[in-house]
Symmetry: D2
Subunit: 142 residues, 4 copies
DNA sequence: TTTT
DNA sequence: TTTT
């Protein structure tokens, strides 16, 4: 069992890429999740959590979300390792989303990047295709 | 909101340390959480998730768990950054546990490292002291 | 382990009561949680989940939420039994909240019942007093 | 969003039925989930939560679990209403499972009802067929 | 008895 | 109607 539930705001616009081998869509963004306490500086603190979405979910996210938007994400934690520039092994931890629910509505006037005509009350996108079938050609492009 | 629920096995024995300033106990271990699919190699794959426990929970975990034990962990994702040896900024992601439930019982004969006399059915430890009050002297010792 | 995570809208205004014995505040409301599918009628369907909040959380909820407001609730499932009018035993299932996050902002003009001056981005109330100490005088008043 | 995560023991053997219309398998059982506190009587208390499994998951559960077995369940809360004998409207709340993980191993000698040859470390069954398509003929048979 |  |  590996379950994660988060509510936060996009710390940056999503990036959409495609796997080299099979052209599967993958979107990535960072979610800023407020902590329940206030830090030393008297400032609200947040965790900045890297999120990965696959396939249709990736496309809906990339086409409809932008920096500052509030979402709920359910998914799981995924760890991976990779070779750094200097040859050393590095580890990374991401949340792979299987559901993203849009929770706010950008300022009508603000041009905040929302590009869809979908009512935010209806948007609860899920990735029913499950996990990404790693097959050598389809390394995650980051 | 930032909620995590995991079930897996300790990939290594827990390490117990104390913060420099105030001597608060902190235990760390890695949890191996099986994925629901089988990888290329035909082998079961797992995510290796770093877990942090504080205070009393840290002590109970360090004194009663060891490599191979199965537990359920609830908690939250915490991200932090630190200076690497070479001066570059690195990021890490951990799960801070607020509850750990012991799910199995080591072989009576096996010497698996269990050092307590607590029935596994009763062990559900929680950290009700909440988040760690960062106050300059109490940097996380890793 | 008993963990619940819900996002939905209040199907009715919260009710605030106090336990007979010790006067502890308890608020109840029903949360309408949309299902991810559309029913036979072609209509969106929802689950109507009874929520219970205790103490300070009860008061914040009763004073600041009203029918239609969107919230995220984390908590646990609690079952109980009671004597029906006709003497038969009945069972009920509720979610006891330990955190409620306010997710929307009522129409400034609409008089939706919001009575606080708190920015919705800051409102994430938790019940750190833990479970309700059942002691005979303090039966749940419903 | 509607997510539930439970760990507990079956309070009774699962019951397997089939929908009248389309013969879809549905298993039901009650999960006893220990509370973290001890009640007035000085006894450990539990919540008794009704669980519903559909299709393949229903069959695996019915064929492999029995009273007393420990499992982790992830799923969602579902509410429904029905006509009681006396004509009055009643409400019920169930957890619809989408994943069940077997967490213990019955006494080899005890004849506890385990009928499979599956290692408990491998058993993590999920219902990927999603929600049950209510279509008039397929009312839940209880 | 149900929300948008 | 409840489990260890």
């Amino acid at each position: 069992m590996n379950k994660v539930f988060l509510i936060g705001r996009l710390a940056r616009d999503p990036e959409l890429r495609f796997t080299a081998g099979t052209g599967i869509a993958v979107a990535t963004f960072t979610l800023a999740v407020d902590r329940n306490y206030v830090g030393q500086s008297g400032q609200r603190e947040a965790d900045f959590i890297p999120i990965i979405c696959w396939r249709k979910l990736a496309e809906v996210v990339a086409n409809n979300l932008s920096k500052g938007r509030m979402v709920a994400v359910s998914g799981s934690i995924q760890t991976s390792s990779y070779q750094a520039q200097d040859g050393s092994k590095r580890y990374r931890t991401d949340v792979v989303a299987d559901e993203v629910k849009f929770l706010d509505w950008p300022n009508k006037d603000g041009g905040s990047g929302f590009r869809g005509g979908i009512s935010h009350d209806d948007v609860n996108v899920s990735d029913d295709t499950g996990f990404f079938p790693v097959d050598g050609d389809d390394d995650i492009p980051f």
